[in-house]
């Protein structure tokens, strides 16, 4: 149990490898079922458009989960995340086609804290839109 990344081996300002996550309509249907959030703007194109959205949009928590996945994959253990917060700054629009949407995530070690912890700041984009802001995780490293 614990992170596989060693605190002594990371530096403030270090950039973490970027990752891309593909989102299709089926992922949103699965997320609705798993989370219990059945708001139709996340799966019903007709309803989404009727309330002025360009198309079906991903749950904010789905996007936050991709950021969480990014951090836990890097750290090597989900238990290493001690604090994780985001602001939902833009929508991830998920069209009904073969490509769906892409969420691109990158991270930077903003600060090294005592007790072998670091603050990782995330950038999450879909197309040109920055979909998360103030996205930061505190991670307990080895």
């Amino acid at each position: 149990m614990g992170a596989t990344i060693k605190w002594d081996e990371v530096e403030q300002g270090q950039e973490l490898p970027a990752a891309e996550y593909q989102v299709h309509r089926v992922n949103l249907v699965m997320y609705a079922g798993a989370s219990g959030d059945f708001n139709p703007i996340h799966w019903n194109e007709r309803l989404a458009k009727s309330v002025g959205l360009p198309d079906v949009i991903a749950h904010g928590m789905y996007t936050m989960a991709q950021g969480g996945r990014y951090v836990t994959d890097w750290a090597g253990d989900p238990a290493a995340v001690v604090d994780y917060g985001v602001r939902f700054s833009s929508m991830v629009v998920v069209p009904d086609d073969d490509n769906g949407a892409t969420i691109s995530i990158s991270g930077t070690i903003e600060e090294k804290l005592p007790d072998k912890r670091v603050i990782v700041v995330l950038t999450a984009k879909s197309g040109d839109a920055r979909v998360l802001s103030k996205a930061r995780a505190v991670v307990q490293l080895a």
Partner: protein
């Protein structure tokens, strides 16, 4: 219509313990597309030093608002759900959530403020085991668009 400020500080308890199951964690991990074996295979989780299957960091959203619904849905509160979007979310973790945990959540409407035409509502959810061990805290900020008018 502005939200009823009398609700600031009101706390609501989850109606019954939330029982974390291996299947629910597996379903959630599949939904977010995360193939990490420690979310679905108890042996892999144990080999990594955990007592059982681990929940992904955002899993608490599944139950963290269950208690708050009673307050947020109260007609006296005045919230129009059709205008609500999720503004911010944060979790702080005392320990990971594991399959087999029996969890309680106390949700408190901790802050309401007007920003322009919008109302910002923060709901804090304090999650513990049924034995009172702290597990995590959720900070859920909802935005009611046009609610401050």
């Amino acid at each position: 219509m502005a939200l009823n400020r009398d609700f600031i500080g009101r706390a609501y308890s989850s109606p019954a313990p939330y029982e974390v199951s291996r299947l629910k964690i597996k379903e959630f991990a599949a939904a977010i597309g995360d193939a990490n074996p420690i979310y679905r295979d108890a042996e892999a989780a144990k080999a990594a030093g955990h007592p059982d299957v681990v929940a992904p960091p955002t899993f608490p959203i599944v139950f963290a608002l269950a208690g708050a619904g009673e307050g947020l849905n109260d007609p006296e509160f005045g919230l129009d759900w059709s205008m609500v979007v999720h503004g911010e979310q944060r979790f702080t973790y005392d320990r990971p959530i594991y399959a087999g945990d029996r969890l309680l959540c106390t949700s408190t409407i901790s802050e309401i403020r007007s920003v322009g035409r919008n109302e910002f509502i923060t709901v804090r959810g304090d999650v513990t085991t049924v034995d009172g061990e702290p597990v995590c805290t959720s900070f859920n900020m909802l935005v009611e668009r046009g609610g401050a008018k």
